[in-house]
């Protein structure tokens, strides 16, 4: 009897629970759907911003990969280039090429008489056009004495006009190009003498005051050398430190202090490392200012904590059963670490290392402090030549007033991003490669 009432009570309670749960189910489901929607909106917003950012950069950078060239009929007049008839390289190198160009332009526009107007006419060509002419003659000395149609780069203002960046409608006083200059350009375009070609200059030359002559090769080389120094120093030191701290160091107060300090250093503003580099490397040790060597040393100091932390956490993630198995058959501590733990921790270490290096690639503040903000024209050839790096180059160009530098800044940003994406792609590939082996 008593058993039965107990049964009823428990089954009654069963029904009640079920009803209560059902009643609240609607609200719970609604909350879940809302949460998922928030997450989705956040992702879409993030991607949207990313697309706007990239779209903006690409839209500006697109035109930088093309350079306008104009075709001129140039007579390689022997009497002007080589009056003494020496026919050797030295005299050809120092010949008066601008004169040839002026003559060619005068021949095409005979109505231009005024001196000021003549200057404006000659200014249509890039200041690097004479050097281009010299290069062509040096490659093919047989041209001497002949008349050839040569394609030459135009000045950055003309380049901007042809690319449509200069507004033709605003008053002449507000424009860089005068009305008659625009008329000449239009005439040349109508004659089919103007065309846009791939801007090789951008990828092969160093910085320049003239936008059409400016390129990122100098900054690229500087970045490469600096990263080489950073990698060569921070990777071995960082990984070795992490292995020592994680596997061999005793756990006592000193190692605790070291760990706290490393974590703090990883968060120090990077410009502080630049000040340190200035005071210690340049003032005390007397290393060459603005060189990739000093830049690399400063960036090493900055990347070291990041690499140590990433490597340590990779080592911690190796299961202790592997260590025990190795120790159990009599492997020494060194053998256990290098034969078993390290290969398993390698993917994590590599990822951390490459992320650290990618961060170093994009740093400009500490390098400004050690002098890499100077205007460097020559492409650095060694670790001690003065150089600049890509982020700093972007900053310098962004600061320039010429219109031509606007598109080149965006193009340089694209090159930097391509560099970063390649490095991250390499990190992903290396991780997959090492993970697959096990």
């Amino acid at each position: 009897m008593s058993n039965r009432t107990e049964e009823n009570k428990s089954s009654n309670q069963g029904i009640r629970t079920h009803e209560i749960v059902k009643a609240g189910l609607h609200r719970r489901r609604a909350a879940e759907i809302r949460f998922k929607a928030y997450g989705f909106i956040c992702i879409v917003a993030g991607l949207g911003f990313l697309m706007v950012l990239f779209g903006n950069i690409i839209a500006h950078a697109w035109s930088a990969f093309e350079q306008t060239y104009v075709a001129l009929d140039v007579t390689f007049d022997e009497s002007a280039l080589d009056p003494e008839g020496k026919h050797d390289a030295a005299s050809l190198a120092s010949a008066d090429y601008p004169a040839l160009l002026k003559r060619s332009l005068a021949a095409m526009f005979p109505e231009v008489k005024d001196r000021l107007e003549k200057r404006s006419l000659n200014a249509l060509l890039s200041s690097g056009a004479p050097y281009e002419l010299r290069r062509i003659l040096e490659n093919d000395p047989a041209l001497l004495g002949k008349t050839e149609r040569i394609w030459l780069p135009v000045d950055d203002d003309v380049d901007m006009l042809v690319k449509g960046q200069i507004d033709r409608d605003i008053g002449e006083g507000d424009r860089r190009m005068k009305d008659y200059q625009i008329a000449w350009i239009d005439k040349l375009i109508a004659a089919g003498r103007v065309e846009k070609r791939f801007n090789k200059q951008f990828f092969t030359s160093g910085d320049s005051r003239e936008p059409e002559m400016a390129g990122i090769w100098g900054a690229l080389m500087g970045s490469l050398f600096t990263l080489m120094v950073t990698g060569a120093l921070s990777l071995p030191i960082g990984i070795a430190s992490a292995i020592y701290l994680e596997e061999f160091a005793p756990r006592n107060r000193w190692t605790d202090i070291i760990e706290v300090n490393i974590n703090n250093l990883a968060a120090v503003p990077s410009i502080v490392f630049g000040l340190l580099g200035l005071a210690v490397f340049i003032n005390f040790f007397g290393l060459p200012r603005s060189s990739p060597l000093v830049g690399g040393l400063v960036l090493t100091l900055m990347t070291l904590p990041v690499i140590i932390i990433a490597a340590r956490s990779a080592l911690k993630s190796v299961p202790p059963s592997i260590r025990e198995a190795a120790l159990g058959i009599g492997a020494s501590q060194m053998q256990t670490v290098f034969h078993h733990v390290l290969p398993l921790a390698m993917p994590g270490m590599l990822t951390g290392a490459i992320i650290g290096m990618a961060r170093a690639l994009g740093e400009s503040a500490p390098l400004l402090m050690i002098g890499m903000v100077a205007f460097i024209v020559d492409v650095p050839g060694s670790l001690t030549d003065p150089s600049t790096v890509l982020p700093v180059q972007i900053y310098l160009w962004a600061d320039s007033s010429e219109r031509g530098f606007v598109e080149r800044t965006s193009a340089a940003i694209l090159v930097l991003l391509a560099f970063l994406i390649t490095m991250n792609g390499l990190a992903v590939y290396l991780r997959k490669h090492y993970e697959r082996r096990w």
Partner: protein, 278 residues
């Protein structure tokens, strides 16, 4: 209701008797432990345990969870050194030499006293590499042919050769649980130890794999001394010649396996074996 205290006792030594009952030491012992204490920080995990392990015998260490049998086992090849805060005092002698002596190198010790763990942990390398690693680092083989011979011999002794001889380059982690554990046993015997310690080797395996490994232990007894920690009393009864019963860090009783399981002399041993607690 049935309470343990209510049931009439038959063992000669009551539950309060703290001295170890039975023949602790044996003649011509491989391992001799005297007054071993192990502390994990403040916790006194092993209290004044003395035990002898004879040559070529299988001794089973049994007892309820947390009684310290694995801790004691790990003392025998100094694996407790890897645990921070673990202190071992007392004397443990392997073939007459104190393994906790000052300046003793643990590397050759662990080559002499091998260990098989509860969860099979083959290296994430090929089967061949797993077995060959030990002989290689200790320099037991002078050329490739000798190494291959050692690997084959170890795999045969572990009863795994027929199953894997065509797959030696395959990863060791691709084997089944029972095969992995036999691979770990092969790996251990490849360095030619004198003693093999087994810490609940079959607890993660199915009955058939367990039976294979128990059969293996009988074959291994010919060449090695084996100490096995086990939760299963039936397994202890099947494989061992002597059994030691641990309870809350103390060694309660030691004796011939048959005697322990049919006629235990200490009350706590009888309580455990008859299943009053476990």
């Amino acid at each position: 209701m049935r309470h343990p205290e209510n049931i009439p006792t038959s063992a000669s030594f009551s539950r309060d008797h703290i001295q170890t009952v039975g023949n602790i030491f044996v003649k011509d012992a491989r391992i001799e432990c005297r007054s071993v204490d192990v502390f994990y920080g403040e916790k006194h995990a092993i209290q004044d345990v003395s035990l002898g392990v004879g040559r070529n015998e299988v001794i089973a260490l049994i007892g309820p969870s947390g009684c310290g049998k694995s801790t004691f086992l790990r003392c025998l090849n100094r694996m407790n050194d890897t645990i921070p805060g673990c202190r071992v005092s007392g004397e443990i002698k392997l073939d007459g030499q104190d393994i906790y002596a000052e300046g003793l190198d643990v590397v050759p010790l662990r080559a002499q006293v091998g260990m098989v763990f509860q969860k099979p942990n083959p290296f994430p390398k090929s089967i061949f590499e797993n077995v060959a690693y030990g002989p290689r680092i200790h320099g037991l083989a002078s050329n490739k042919l000798e190494l291959e011979e050692i690997v084959e011999k170890s795999l045969r002794r572990a009863g795994l050769w027929e199953e894997v001889k065509d797959y030696l380059r395959h990863p060791g982690t691709g084997l089944s649980g029972g095969q992995q554990q036999r691979l770990c046993i092969a790996r251990t015997i490849a360095v030619n130890p004198e003693v093999i310690l087994m810490d609940e080797p079959c607890s993660a395996l199915d009955p058939i794999a367990t039976a294979k490994i128990e059969q293996l232990m009988d074959d291994l007894r010919e060449h090695y001394t084996i100490a096995i920690v086990t939760h299963s009393m039936q397994q202890a009864a099947r494989v061992s010649q002597r059994t030691a019963y641990f309870h809350l860090g103390k060694l309660i009783e030691v004796g011939e396996t048959a005697q322990i399981f049919t006629n235990p002399r200490h009350q706590l041993t009888e309580d455990y074996i008859t299943g009053r607690f476990g």
